[in-house]
């Protein structure tokens, strides 16, 4: 986000600090204040609340969260010990990281391939229409998608069971049957997000200088070679950026996908419980809040570290592709 810029900024900054706060600066500051207040209230205040992971929280009704926090005794890393000694913690972590790793790879690969393919279509009209259809799932909320899924998986009337019934295979309780859910969740995730990814890559493809292809053509490069040696390298920056953005969210999961779509079914715990679902389940409780708070802390801190680390690695390998 700011490598070269910030260096140039620093020089300017030095010249600035000597100057007094102008009238214009004051006016710009007043313009920024409403947004600044929002950031303080809804982004920075919760960051302080995160120390709840390090206290054994005593809830007293009628008191505000911070008052409760201050009066609760310090417990050090005990909450984390509880969290990591529980069996479910490993299942939850495995699910969160496992699904996310798959999503990250697929969400870079599938849209890139689709974007290259759709850009090869001769008729731009067909390409545009297809793109419009493929973008549609992105605009649907997970609540709506849950209805779609139920139309297929409902026990009594769902499409799958109707087909199975007509073939004499008997009905299946899909919402209690963990085996199909991992692949289903992966397919749904691609289905919903591929239109979005494709748009981003398609924009990058249309930004590639056409003369590059002309030159390659004159040199006798085949279609495949042109894709391999021009399109793909030109898409690299976009691919790395999309990759970094999703890596930073590796400890987060789409609550809608993992809770709304399987309808919070407890039998599917082993394949659908992720950190976000686990933390959400703890929200209504006032007593046993310490383990979920530790989980929330791990989520925030580890997420932050992953994005900084991966950005650092990318910068070491290829300076221009880093986002910070």
């Amino acid at each position: 986000m700011k490598t070269r810029e910030s260096r140039a900024d620093k020089k300017k900054w030095k010249a600035h600090t000597r100057r007094r706060f102008r009238k214009g600066d004051l006016e710009l500051t007043t313009l920024a204040i409403p947004s600044f207040v929002w950031y303080i209230c809804f982004s920075y205040l919760p960051m302080f609340g995160i120390i709840i992971a390090f206290v054994s929280f005593k809830f007293q009704p009628g008191q505000s969260f911070f008052a409760n926090l201050v009066t609760s005794p310090w417990s050090g890393l005990k909450n984390f010990e509880f969290l990591f000694s529980s069996n479910s913690a490993w299942i939850i972590l495995r699910n969160t990281l496992g699904y996310n790793l798959l999503f990250i790879v697929l969400n870079v690969l599938v849209p890139t391939v689709l974007a290259i393919m759709i850009s090869q279509l001769r008729s731009k009209k067909i390409a545009k229409t297809t793109q419009t259809f493929m973008f549609l799932p992105y605009f649907m909320s997970w609540v709506v998608v849950a209805y779609f899924v139920e139309a297929f998986l409902n026990y009594d009337f769902g499409f799958l069971n109707t087909v199975r019934d007509s073939m004499g295979m008997g009905k299946e309780l899909w919402y209690l049957q963990p085996s199909i859910w991992p692949s289903l969740l992966i397919i749904l995730n691609i289905w919903k997000s591929m239109g979005y990814g494709m748009v981003v890559y398609l924009a990058a493809i249309s930004g590639i200088d056409g003369t590059l292809y002309e030159a390659a053509l004159i040199d006798g490069a085949s279609k495949w070679q042109r894709i391999r040696f021009i399109t793909l390298p030109m898409l690299k920056v976009t691919m790395i950026m999309m990759f970094l953005l999703s890596v930073g969210r590796i400890f987060y999961s789409d609550f809608g996908l993992f809770y709304q779509v399987p309808k919070g079914s407890a039998s599917l715990f082993e394949v659908t419980e992720t950190l976000d679902v686990y933390i959400w389940r703890a929200l209504g409780q006032t007593t046993n809040i310490s383990m979920p708070s530790a989980a929330a802390f791990v989520q925030s801190a580890a997420g932050c570290l992953t994005i900084l680390l991966s950005n650092w690695i990318v910068r070491k390998v290829d300076k221009d592709s880093a986002i910070m």
Partner: protein, 310 residues
């Protein structure tokens, strides 16, 4: 599409044509993909116009063996619930979009001014929450006990007002399209920064405002998460939350039966259960499904600006 893009596409078309068989394979493939994206919508529409009897006999069908409009008739008879939820959705979407548009664009403008003294500070203010946050438990507790947002419209509006991504889009747009000379000349003429922002910058930045507004509108209209966290009162539930509540408990719909002069039991008994729940989903999806092809352009331009490194 910009002229440059058009030119590139035209050039690419001349030099880049794939062979006819490959083209046909691609068309067939994409027809299939497009169908997969569209199919679930067609399916639930089909279910919503099936008669209860045919669903009981044959299950959900892509082509209903017996048509019936009873789901929609029932929905129309009990329309006040949908209307209530629509009202909440509209208020939240409208309020959130207007407020969010101002906050996002003003912050984006301020950090886009190269000579502003606190530019670095505010850039960090926007940037840090993009990689670190307080987590759900802390956020939830603060919003409910410190700000008292439980069961208010504000709970649906405030948390979604700003996002770092949107601010960066605004900043990039202002930085690249609003000429510095324009702002400098206004400064020399003695215009205040507020005046410059409202009278000069905003009017020539309509494309980016449209994009951000669109992001906000879809964000608010499709949101069920905030409602799930903060809203218990049935009359404050937006459409998506209503859909989610009905999914869990169909009888939820009958909660205000008393006001219709009908007993709750009668209402539930009369309900065409299967087609009705899909019908209500269809009613809630349709506005977006019809509107998005027209908005798509602005959405794409926003994603493209956002993808450029700020």
């Amino acid at each position: 599409m910009s002229r440059r893009e058009k030119h590139v596409l035209a050039a690419a078309e001349r030099f880049e044509r794939v062979s006819v068989p490959t083209n046909i394979i691609l068309i067939v493939f994409f027809a299939l993909v497009a169908f997969l994206c569209l199919m679930p919508f067609l399916f639930i529409i089909a279910i919503s116009i099936s008669s209860e009897g045919s669903i009981a006999r044959h299950g959900y069908q892509f082509i209903p063996s017996e048509l019936s409009s009873s789901a929609y008739e029932y929905l129309w008879k009990n329309r006040n619930m949908i209307f209530d939820a629509t009202k909440v959705s509209l208020i939240v979407t409208l309020g959130g979009t207007v407020l969010g548009l101002f906050l996002t664009s003003s912050m984006g403008y301020v950090i886009s001014r190269p000579n502003y003294k606190l530019k670095g500070f505010f850039t960090w203010v926007v940037f840090i929450p993009m990689i670190f946050n307080g987590g759900l438990i802390s956020t939830y507790n603060i919003n409910t006990t410190v700000f008292g947002l439980k069961d208010t419209y504000w709970a649906l509006i405030f948390p979604l007002l700003m996002s770092g991504f949107n601010v960066i889009i605004c900043k990039t747009f202002f930085r690249t399209t609003v000429p510095d000379s324009l702002i400098e000349s206004a400064e020399i003429d003695g215009a205040s920064q507020w005046r410059i922002y409202f009278r000069i910058v905003l009017p020539i930045s309509l494309p980016v405002l449209a994009t951000i507004a669109l992001f906000l509108v879809f964000g608010y209209w499709n949101d069920w998460w905030q409602a799930m966290l903060y809203i218990d009162r049935p009359d404050l539930k937006p459409l998506q939350a209503l859909l989610s509540a009905i999914d869990r408990n169909l009888e939820y719909f009958a909660r205000n039966a008393a006001t219709l002069g009908m007993s709750r039991m009668d209402l539930i008994r009369e309900m065409p259960r299967q087609s009705f729940r899909m019908g209500i989903a269809v009613v809630i999806i349709t506005p977006i499904a019809l509107a998005y092809p027209f908005f798509q352009r602005y959405f794409i331009s926003g994603l493209t600006i956002g993808a450029v490194k700020g």
